[in-house]
Symmetry: C2
Amino acid sequence: MTRRVTIADIAAAAGVSKGAVSYALNGRPGVSETTRTKILAIAAEMGFVPNRAARSLSVSSAQAVGIALRRSARTIGIEPYFMELISGIEATLSAGSFGLTLQIVGTVEEELEVYRRWWAERRVDGVFLCDVGTSDQRLDFIADLGLPAVAVGGPIEGARFPAVWHDDVEPSRDILEYLYTLGHRRVARIAGIPGLLHTAIRDKAYDDTAADLAFESVTTIHSDYTGEQGAQITRRLLSSAKRPTAIVYDNDVMAVAGLGVAHELGLEIPEQLSLVAWDDSQLCRLTHPALTSLTRDIPAYGAKCAEVLLTLIGAATEAAHQGAETRTFSVQCKPAQLSPRGSTGPAQT
Amino acid sequence: MTRRVTIADIAAAAGVSKGAVSYALNGRPGVSETTRTKILAIAAEMGFVPNRAARSLSVSSAQAVGIALRRSARTIGIEPYFMELISGIEATLSAGSFGLTLQIVGTVEEELEVYRRWWAERRVDGVFLCDVGTSDQRLDFIADLGLPAVAVGGPIEGARFPAVWHDDVEPSRDILEYLYTLGHRRVARIAGIPGLLHTAIRDKAYDDTAADLAFESVTTIHSDYTGEQGAQITRRLLSSAKRPTAIVYDNDVMAVAGLGVAHELGLEIPEQLSLVAWDDSQLCRLTHPALTSLTRDIPAYGAKCAEVLLTLIGAATEAAHQGAETRTFSVQCKPAQLSPRGSTGPAQT
DNA sequence: CAGTATCGCTTAACCGGATAAGTAGCGTCA
DNA sequence: TGACGCTACTTATCCGGTTAAGCGATACTG
């Protein structure tokens, strides 16, 4: 079992003081180039890595950010979204040698408690806020703590910290116009959880677009994003007298479940029913027919979120030293693109 | 922006010294019950939460464990396995108020580097080792570091740290016997990555069982676990002259992809082809027909892994203080159970 | 009643870095 | 030649906890 190397060890080896070593390692003035080179060489040779706790204690930064996910153990795995997001976040974080602390919680109260603890413990320098709601108590809570944060989703009006988001209005319109062009007149949408911001945004975009086109009916039914509900609602829709000729799902998991139900009922896809999924994961390409879906680059999205959070943390650190003011800025990403595949086709006449 | 409370603040408020506060908060002897109660009350009132860095620095523990996953950004999301595992791990960790640090890496070298850094920085007290290979360089590397670790998978002979695993031999036999009873005589298995320990274990279990029964052929083809390869290999198998009447997949994603291919080729499931998946996630119940699969409780498995790691960390801490020796112990979990669903049926005569 | 154990607390050192303040050595310049 | 400034360090303090050691005051004990 190797011993951990401290700056005191390096100082002893180099015949200088701890302070000199610290200056040398951090690229600060105060040591000659000769000494600096020598110290760096010794540090490298000894395999020195600074003790995070010690550094954190003196500079008051954790070099880590946190993400709390509010899902049950059984349902969290099924959605590819989070892992892809985290994967993108990670890519940016590790480039800046930040760590990612993950916590899975059951309720909002637990989530708020986690944020408070992280903040009080100084375990993280900032957090990502997922599943932003239309009226989200976490926003003020975190802003009041003074904890740097980035909302993953938006836009959020009057937010006290930045949001990274992409427009859902245009893609919503794209879907409906696409289906309209294919001749569909009765369209149903199995939407996500009603309280979520992006659900509300899509709801409105849907209604607005529907009003502009001569649909017979455009209905929205809210769900909880699970495959079970997706299947159940699809079954109900397809058993009704005037069943829709196209169904749009707010995520890929429900769309896959919906496809299963269509198979179960013996419906030909896309001849008798067209299906569209939001959030194109690999899942959409595994089914037959493959699911037409709204594609966006989620790892890139996560990377952007991380980038903004790191910038924010940097700014907060600056501000603490120089009293500069922190500006809230939002970042809009490229909207999702419709990827037509086998699950959509002309409506039956 | 609230100020963080330190033990010095509490000491001042209670009119005692920092030391007394520390004793009181940690439930150690050295203060009277009266004083202890008073200090605890003040601490609670002020909302005191200890600074993790400070505590870590003095007690040399991070109160966090790490998990490094070696997957690409695009493929990591699709497998429900990891999120379920992490979810289970989390449940146990947060009960012990440990944090989880997650890192996604691309190569083994990167992964080893992450472990070394975590260890040197004292960022984690222990790690989980996923995707254990048949000859895994990480095992010795981590053991040499003296970093407490738990292998998620096994059994590992002569390991220098514990493994949490479940028997794959019995379930492998279960599948083959089940298919044999249904009259299947030509069975194919699309296996996982050849270097992985559990792939090797299943390979052998398969061969052994096949030798005991009068199959016409039992073939194994290795893959990379992705839906693409699952689909591609399935397509090849089903296009061959003597195509199998049943295919077993080493994970659920490939099985879903295989089902898609079967649909694409117009095969009736299960009349013309039976499909079995390992690792029953919700995915298996979303398709039509639902996939017969090997069910195991992955969150519970993760919880067990975390429990063992925490025990190990506790033991290591003890050992450091008292010089006691650390015992390596392995934990075997309940093997996966076959859940027959619509994707399997009698072989066509 | 002196000797001593125990309680209840304070003091101070320590963990491993960062960093402000202090200082020795040397060149510069009036 | 002495005041001054600069370089290249060293020293000491701090971050916020933990903990060994110290130290009165009280209780116990032979």
